[in-house]
């Protein structure tokens, strides 16, 4: 749900990490039998009070409290607890009311009206007014300093106060799925006089103090609108740039929960009685990207051959330790119209296609980078599979900062990472010529016509048919090789309750710690 990717700098010092991790793993496995932890204390029924300490991956000196431009995971976690958008993606990835109690389209879908929830207040006790909502969106769309959601909100022509609790969005084109953008976590509602030095929102927790790159502390928002929530009195988010340190902090009881257990370590961590793993199926996807406007990927047969080379089950098993679902070159698996077609590994067919394209002994360079757990391993496994089809893939490994440098979006054969989205919003981010992150330079006239019609089609049945048609085109000739949807695996102490599997791709129940309680 961020525009993609984990931020640069998530996985650092990789030689060291590899050795340290391997040594730690070996030692932990060896010693696991020596001293079993004391009997686990269970979470039990929901209970108020206590402190929740959470270790979050990534972050650094550039940490921010800005509601509209979170980048690293700790930024996202802070955003989700301090602020709330008009709507909210729940655990099942369906859209629910949040700051707005309702958001309705006008019949032609050229304008939408949001009704602010009655009685909802900011952390300082002031009620949320239509002026605050208008100011929040003006802040995101500020032409001098456009924030992260600005690209997806590009169709907003005007935002006006339309009643005591109503705000009207006037769009430049009909958009029957506009509400999906209002559920993105980076569109939080803040007071009209918002200042990032005094970060006020409507979220379940109120800002207390922080030390950028290290830790941030929050206290319960007493006037929160959801009944009984939040349960804990105090929330502490602690940055961890290193996987081993984060896991060690959980094992030694210094934190109550951590996000992102490396998939190779889930068994070790899960073997502790006092620790519970939280595994979530997600719609996040890890593609290999082929730029369709350069040789040899401009030949659709080459793209098709490279897609047929991928043994997707094997990649999920080897790269994700089986914790994921194979994908078949289409994203948006939780979209109601997801096609879910089949595509098996067909080495012979791939060879034929490559011969037909006049490239029987193809030699390629794949740019890989640890932008997300599993990307480098995926490149390695895929390169091995390609050898069977006579395709020689050399790996060029770069660090994350280099990957997302000005060469990002220029790489010819590389990788990427995206979180859960439905089909039309995702296409607007990555598959249209005006998309901010069109990694494959996909520029297919027929596809674009279908998407343009789909995104303004008010009739749901007709729109569904168009979305399916667009998927068929992308399945046949797109530039993405999508091999899997990785599960998200997090871990928490057994005495922490309320954290449920979540499809958004964000860790720890979507970082919504209002849901959690501690039996401490």
């Amino acid at each position: 749900m961020t525009s993609t990717s984990s931020p640069p700098g998530l996985h650092r010092l990789n030689r060291r990490r590899l050795f340290g991790g391997a040594a730690g793993l070996a030692a932990a496995t060896f010693l696991a039998g020596c001293g079993g932890p004391a009997a686990a204390r269970e979470a039990g029924p929901p209970r108020p009070g206590g402190v929740l300490r959470v270790g979050v991956t990534g972050g650094g000196a550039s940490d921010t409290l800005d509601p509209h431009s979170p980048a690293a995971n700790p930024d996202i976690a802070r955003t989700l607890n301090l602020y709330e958008p008009l709507l909210h993606w729940d655990d099942a990835y369906t859209l629910q009311p949040a700051v707005a109690e309702a958001v309705r389209a006008e019949p032609d879908a050229r304008a939408w009206t949001a009704t602010i929830r009655a009685g909802i207040t900011f952390h300082d006790g002031r009620p949320v007014t239509p002026d605050d909502v208008v100011a929040s969106f003006r802040r995101m769309l500020d032409p001098d300093d456009p924030k992260a959601p600005a690209s997806q909100l590009g169709i907003v022509d005007d935002i006006v106060v339309a009643g005591d609790r109503e705000v009207r969005f006037v769009l430049s084109e009909p958009s029957p799925v506009f509400d999906q953008y209002l559920g993105e976590y980076n569109t939080g509602i803040v007071p009209a006089d918002f200042d990032v030095e005094n970060p006020i929102g409507t979220g379940a927790f109120r800002f207390e103090s922080w030390n950028p790159g290290q830790q941030s502390a929050f206290v319960k928002h007493e006037g929160y609108w959801r009944p009984d929530e939040p349960y804990v009195d105090r929330l502490e988010l602690i940055n961890f740039s290193e996987d081993d340190a984060r896991i060690n902090a959980l094992l030694s009881g210094q934190v109550d929960a951590i996000d992102q257990v490396p998939l190779s370590l889930t068994e070790v961590v899960g073997s502790y009685e006092s620790i519970k793993l939280l595994t979530s199926e997600t719609g996040a996807w890890l593609p290999i990207t082929m730029r369709v406007d350069v040789e040899p990927f401009d030949d659709v047969r080459v793209r098709q051959a490279l897609r047929l080379i991928a043994g997707r089950e094997q990649m999920v098993n080897q790269v994700l330790s089986g914790l994921g679902t194979p994908a078949v070159d289409l994203y948006a698996r939780f979209d109601p119209e997801y096609l879910d077609p089949r595509r098996e590994q067909e080495i012979e067919r791939a060879r034929e296609l490559l011969s037909a394209a006049g490239r029987p002994n193809l030699s390629l360079e794949l740019v890989t980078s640890p932008i997300q757990a599993g990307t480098v391993e995926a490149a390695q496994v895929y390169a091995t599979q390609a050898r069977a089809a006579g395709v020689d893939i050399g790996l060029r490994r770069v660090d994350t900062s280099t990957f997302f440098s000005d060469q990002y979006l220029q790489w010819e054969f590389a990788q990427s990472f995206w979180n859960t989205r439905n089909y039309i919003p995702q296409a607007a981010q990555s598959s249209m010529p005006e998309a901010p992150f069109n990694e494959t330079h996909w520029d297919d006239a027929e596809y674009q016509a279908v998407i343009r019609r789909a995104r303004s089609e008010v009739d749901a049945t007709a729109r569904a048919a168009l979305v399916r048609q667009a998927q068929e085109i992308e399945f046949d000739r797109g530039g993405y090789l999508i091999w899997g949807f990785p599960d998200r695996v997090d871990a928490h102490q057994a005495y922490v309750g309320g954290l449920t599997p979540n499809r958004t791709g964000l860790s720890l129940s979507g970082y919504e710690f209002r849901k959690a309680w501690v039996n401490a």
Partner: protein, 332 residues
């Protein structure tokens, strides 16, 4: 003592120390050029690294100009060097604030690790080394020498990981495995969190000093002047403390200085492993973020520390060496 005698006594020494000082300044100047040049070679650009994938061309352009990245290299180098010489360490692109503000608390935190490690490891290492030397050839000696050899061969992160497994997570859970300080709280408010990082660094430093102490002291104990002292009938304790040990101060001080200097670099890995909020962690973060001025400042601080400690060791060596100390010759 007349003035003439005084000057003949001190001038070769003073000149030597002066020469070392000048050399140190020169080394630091070269280091500053290397550091600056190396950060230019880092792939990727700071503006994009900070903005992440959310970087729109307008935001990148604005930040590039703000960071002065569009100015010529030489201009940037001299304005940076000028800043360093006047105590201005530069501007952190990541925090949008002065580098000194970012590093202030962190230098104190890393310094605390260094000082604690030095205070704990020095007496232990010297005592163990002396013990092994006095008992050279016995089983005590071979056990000490063997285990220090094994420890010396282990990299710091392996020692750190093993200590965590033993004392914090898998076997015993008696110590915290990472450092977590609440906002505004200095690291020393929870001293138990300092144990594992200090222990790791100490275990890395001790073996070298033990081995060096043992070697130089053994050599001294076998030397003619010690034999002479024994033959004069002095008690063994006096022989050891008055005659043999002073002889080892120079070389041991050198090794000790090298170890301290190494520590300044070693804290980078140890801080990373234990999530300790010192300059090492800041350095790793800054490299990943392409926060160039922070990288330059920290590297230069570590280099300056290295040079200073080595200078101090040289001076200690000079002062401890009676041939130089008492020499009145032209050349030393």
């Amino acid at each position: 003592m007349s003035a003439v005698q005084m000057s003949t006594l001190t001038s070769p020494m003073a000149r030597m120390i002066g020469r070392r000082l000048l050399l140190s300044v020169l080394v630091l100047f070269v280091v500053s050029i290397l550091v600056f040049g190396a950060t230019l070679l880092l792939p990727g650009d700071p503006a994009r690294a900070i903005l992440g994938q959310q970087a729109t061309p307008e935001r990148v352009a604005a930040l590039t100009e703000q960071l002065g990245l569009d100015r010529p290299v030489w201009e940037r180098y001299f304005s940076w060097l000028g800043g360093i010489l006047t105590g201005d360490l530069g501007f952190s692109a990541a925090t949008q604030g002065p580098v000194s503000e970012l590093l202030g608390g962190r230098i104190a935190a890393s310094g605390l690790l260094l000082v604690l490690t030095a205070l704990i490891s020095t007496p232990i290492a010297l005592a163990l080394g002396a013990w092994a030397a006095v008992r050279r050839g016995t089983r005590t000696d071979s056990v000490l020498s063997g285990s220090s050899l094994v420890l010396a061969a282990l990299p710091e992160f392996v020692i750190g990981v093993l200590l965590v497994v033993l004392l914090a997570t898998s076997v015993l859970q008696i110590l915290p495995s990472v450092t977590i300080a609440r906002p505004g709280e200095p690291v020393w408010t929870r001293p138990e969190q300092l144990v594992l990082p200090v222990l790791t660094l100490a275990l890395v430093v001790i073996p070298y000093v033990v081995r060096m102490t043992r070697a130089t002291l053994s050599e001294a104990l076998d030397a003619g002047f010690v034999e002479m002292a024994r033959l004069k009938g002095l008690p063994e304790r006096t022989v050891l403390m008055r005659h043999a040990v002073p002889h080892t101060i120079g070389p041991v001080a050198q090794v000790f200085a090298l170890q301290l200097a190494w520590l300044a670099g070693g804290v980078v890995v140890v801080e990373f492993l234990f999530r300790y909020p010192g300059i090492g962690e800041a350095l790793i973060d800054a490299v990943a973020n392409r926060d160039v001025q922070v990288v330059q400042a920290i590297t230069l601080i570590i280099a300056a520390f290295y040079v200073l400690v080595n200078l101090a060791a040289d001076v200690a060596g000079i002062l401890a060496d009676p041939r130089i100390r008492t020499s009145s010759g032209v050349d030393a």
